[in-house]
């Protein structure tokens, strides 16, 4: 399909297409970057489809060369760039290497061809690429595209790129027009351009116009920044919420100081890794959906380990917090070493599926990454699930009554031992879910849990032990606070300030944001 567009684009191009010559292909693919760029700009106005195909192949890093020939690689086979005939690939053929400068030239060249694509989406993409680096050599092309464009949004975008190119024009009127028109574009790239022009500009009238445009752009960018801080805060908060939610059950409701909580997250993350590998090995076509299976798998794996822990160790230590702390800390070391022995000491790679990579550009300077958005949504879902489970189901009722008054619950015929196991497994499973989420943003390694154990206790204690709502407020509050401070003072100081804040807060209000009320508080 893409080839078709490119072909069309090449046909629409102004100058009559001239056939690519072997000499041109060589000049494009080999030699110094400078000369290759010169060759590229020479070929571009008259590019035929063979030339376009070669440029595309170079941008895809699929071209090889030897001393005598240039070969386009496709599906492991070699093709001649001029005739398109299949050719044998010699042993000595080397890959054509593009550095960042060459790559941006290639992208710009492709974009300027795609600008004439009949598909509006392709054109919109193309103009975005060109907006990055306006060079005057492409001005005639842009003028032509501007005149031909029918879709208003794209016409505007092309207009901005055209203005950006005209900003350096020798004609004062053109510069003035350009500055005025750029005022309503509002991208950081435009700001860069205007700032640079401002330094070089001598004409007071144009300077004033640039000043006005800059003011307008900065106003718009400031909003993007503010929203960005809030979004990153919420995103951090959602991660804190996920890592603390399991602990809110095992520590908050059951009172178990579970130092192995982080390791349960790690198990969830490794479960995700295993599922990813299984998909890659047995169903590569469905790779993008491995996360959907990894979610229940990580829950199951961590819940299972949690249940075994409860039955074998923690059960015998209820009511002895110090021993619980030491025992679970020991367990955390055992779990880490077990994972090291099975998977090796190094981090394992967990790849984002395609739909979790990249982001949506909400504003010109505010991109919301898909994986962060997904984690926020996931945290909301898990929270909803847990609170429904605790508040509305029979199991939740039993958990609440056992934690509030164990003896009375037992008298009423509740199997308290089993409820303990279920509750602990539930908390562990949620930790596993957190691990699955973390695998999408960070590293998966044996000591993954270590980095989050302090954070999760912090959130639960700050929110008020035994309170799900408190955990939610504390997680979001800490997330936003941390990000506000980080923007102001840097990551290192922000972390310290947050800790100091918590110390002071807990001293003034030991029960946390939300205190337990009623008789259960004294139990």
């Amino acid at each position: 399909m893409r080839w078709f567009f490119l072909l069309m684009a090449a046909l629409v191009l102004a100058a009559p297409a001239r056939a690519l010559t072997p000499a041109q292909a060589r000049a494009l693919a080999t030699g110094e970057v400078e000369s290759r760029i010169a060759a590229l700009n020479a070929v571009l106005p008259t590019a035929d489809d063979a030339a376009v195909a070669l440029i595309q192949a170079m941008a895809d890093d699929a071209v090889k060369f030897t001393d005598s020939v240039v070969i386009v690689m496709k599906d492991g086979k070699g093709f001649d760039p001029v005739s398109g005939a299949a050719v044998a690939v010699p042993e000595a053929a080397e890959d054509v290497i593009n550095n960042n400068e060459m790559r941006s030239e290639l992208d710009a060249a492709l974009a300027s061809i795609k600008l004439f694509s009949p598909d509006a989406k392709v054109r919109a993409e193309a103009i975005k690429t060109l907006a990055g680096e306006p060079s005057e050599s492409k001005l005639p092309l842009i003028e032509k595209a501007y005149a031909a464009e029918a879709v208003p949004a794209i016409k505007d975008a092309i207009g901005h790129v055209r203005a950006a190119m005209l900003l350096g024009s020798a004609d004062k009127a053109k510069r003035l027009d350009a500055a005025k028109s750029l005022g309503d574009s509002g991208t950081p790239a435009t700001k860069t351009l205007l700032l640079e022009r401002m330094k070089a500009e001598t004409d007071p009238e144009v300077r004033a116009a640039i000043g006005v445009a800059l003011g307008a752009i900065e106003g718009r960018l400031a909003w993007g920044e503010r929203l960005g801080v809030i979004f990153t805060g919420i995103s951090l908060g959602s991660i804190l919420l996920l890592v603390a939610l399991g602990l809110a059950i095992t520590y908050g409701l059951m009172g178990v100081i579970n130092m192995a909580h982080g390791e349960l997250m790690m198990i969830g993350a490794y479960a995700t890794y295993v599922i990813q590998n299984l998909f890659r090995a047995y169903w590569p076509g469905g790779f993008d959906y491995y996360v959907l299976l990894a979610v229940p798998a990580s829950f199951g794996a961590a819940a299972l380990v949690g249940a075994v822990l409860e039955r074998s160790v923690i059960r015998w230590l209820y009511g002895r917090p110090l021993e619980t702390l030491l025992a679970t800390w020991g367990i955390s070391l055992v779990l880490q070493q077990a994972v090291r022995s099975i998977f090796g000491a190094q981090n394992v790679p967990v790849e984002n599926p395609a739909w979790l990579s990249g982001g949506v550009a909400a504003m010109s300077n505010l991109t919301l990454p898909y994986n962060r958005l997904a984690i926020i949504a996931f945290a909301v879902l898990v929270l909803a699930g847990v609170s429904a489970l605790i508040a509305r189901t029979r199991l939740g009722l039993f958990v609440r009554c056992v934690t509030q008054n164990r003896k009375m619950a037992a008298c009423m015929g509740v199997n308290t031992a089993r409820i303990d196991t279920y509750a602990f497994a539930l908390g562990s499973g949620i930790a596993g879910l957190a691990g699955c989420a973390l695998s999408q943003v960070g590293n998966v390694g044996p000591d993954l849990g270590q980095g989050y154990i302090v954070d999760s206790f912090m959130v639960v204690v700050l929110g008020g032990v035994g309170q799900l709502a408190g955990t939610v407020y504390a997680a979001l509050g800490l997330g936003v606070l941390n990000k506000l401070l980080e923007g102001w003072q840097g990551a290192v100081l922000a972390k310290i300030m947050v800790l100091v804040f918590i110390v002071i807060f807990i001293q003034k209000r030991p029960q946390g944001i939300f205190a337990m009320k009623g008789r259960s508080a004294e139990a």
């Binding site: 950081p188 920044e225 990153t232 790679p349 790849e351 990249g358 982001g359 300077n365 990551a491």
Partner: protein, 427 residues
Amino acid sequence: MNPSRRLAAQSLTAVALGLAALGYSSVALAADTIKVGVLHSLSGTMAISETVLKDTVLMAIDEINAKGGLLGKKLEPVVVDPASNWPLFAEKAKQLIGQDKVVVTFGCWTSVSRKSVLPVYEELNSLLFYPVQYEGEELSKNVFYTGAAPNQQAIPAVEYLMSKAGGGAKRWVLLGTDYVYPRTTNKILRAFLHSKGVKDEDIDEKYTPFGHSDYQTIVADIKKFAAGGKTAVVSTINGDSNVPFYKELGNAGLKAKDVPVVAFSVGEEELRGVDTKPLVGHLAAWNYFQSIKAPANTEFIKKWSDYAKAKGIAGHKDKALTNDPMEATYIGINMWAQAVKKAGSTDTDKVIAAMAGQTFPAPSGITSTMDAKNHHLHKSVFIGEIKADGQFNVVWKTPGPVKAQPWSPYIPENKGKKDEPDLVAKK
């Protein structure tokens, strides 16, 4: 047998065994082997990086022995494990020199471990070969630094980014983990940038705690900063924090061609456990890449992969990777062997004298030269772009080898410091 008697009996046996061992070694081995110490962490946090360096030394020793050894004697490696524990490095070094009578040691990775053993080597007048890039600001008669000094890695990388081919960066984000190596390197870089006319408002220095994983704010800041002009990021982020950083960059839509990131501690081995897709196009500066095309390198990689297969080295037996510190280790031990041959002795002072001006065909394709005076190698600097397979495309290199400046001229306090160690060891 009561406990104390049993203890006594045990210790007696131990002493007897020890004596026997001593007697044996002095009779059978000391006469016809030269002992070589290997001081790399084989457990603890640094084991991941340092274990392969131990194997590289052993491989080189095997090779030298296969050619008949040195001075008619075979080399005998003495491997100890300082377990990523900095004070233990000094103890193990003492043990190597005092007890095992090694004539040279190959070892250390972190700067703090080197600082810890330095007094031992100076006091006992023994030799240490240190194979890792470091922050400079040190020069000892007893140490040969086969890794890069800042002017052999950091400064050329910044010069490249300033050039047209590198993108012509005007503004700089110096981003690092909060400890001594990044802070010293950034101090040097800031002074260097000043000398190139870059103003303070165009430099943004940022640090994160160890193990930092949420780079959203930092990436947003870089994006904002980059709006003020063509920006490049110089990253001294250490270890696995690099992954969330690069992932965040990719997701925020900052491409390598817009805001290139050059890293000083990301190499082939570090990329092994990483999803490299979001990293493609970003840069690293080293004095060696596995992808360098040179006969010496082809040979080096083949030797290493054969050795890894024969010895069953985990990871490397399936996918043999070589990296810069391995190359530096390999050059170091071979130069030492040449110096011993030239001196006709393993005596520390004679070997130090013979080391001056030694050359060796380095795997990086150049002829590596030991400086006549300053104990550092002359090294070519390569800039590589990360490829999807975890290897590097070399996009730029220095025209020839660069002489090391352990005392960076960009730090004012270094003015007047001699570019060679004092010949009399500090006592």
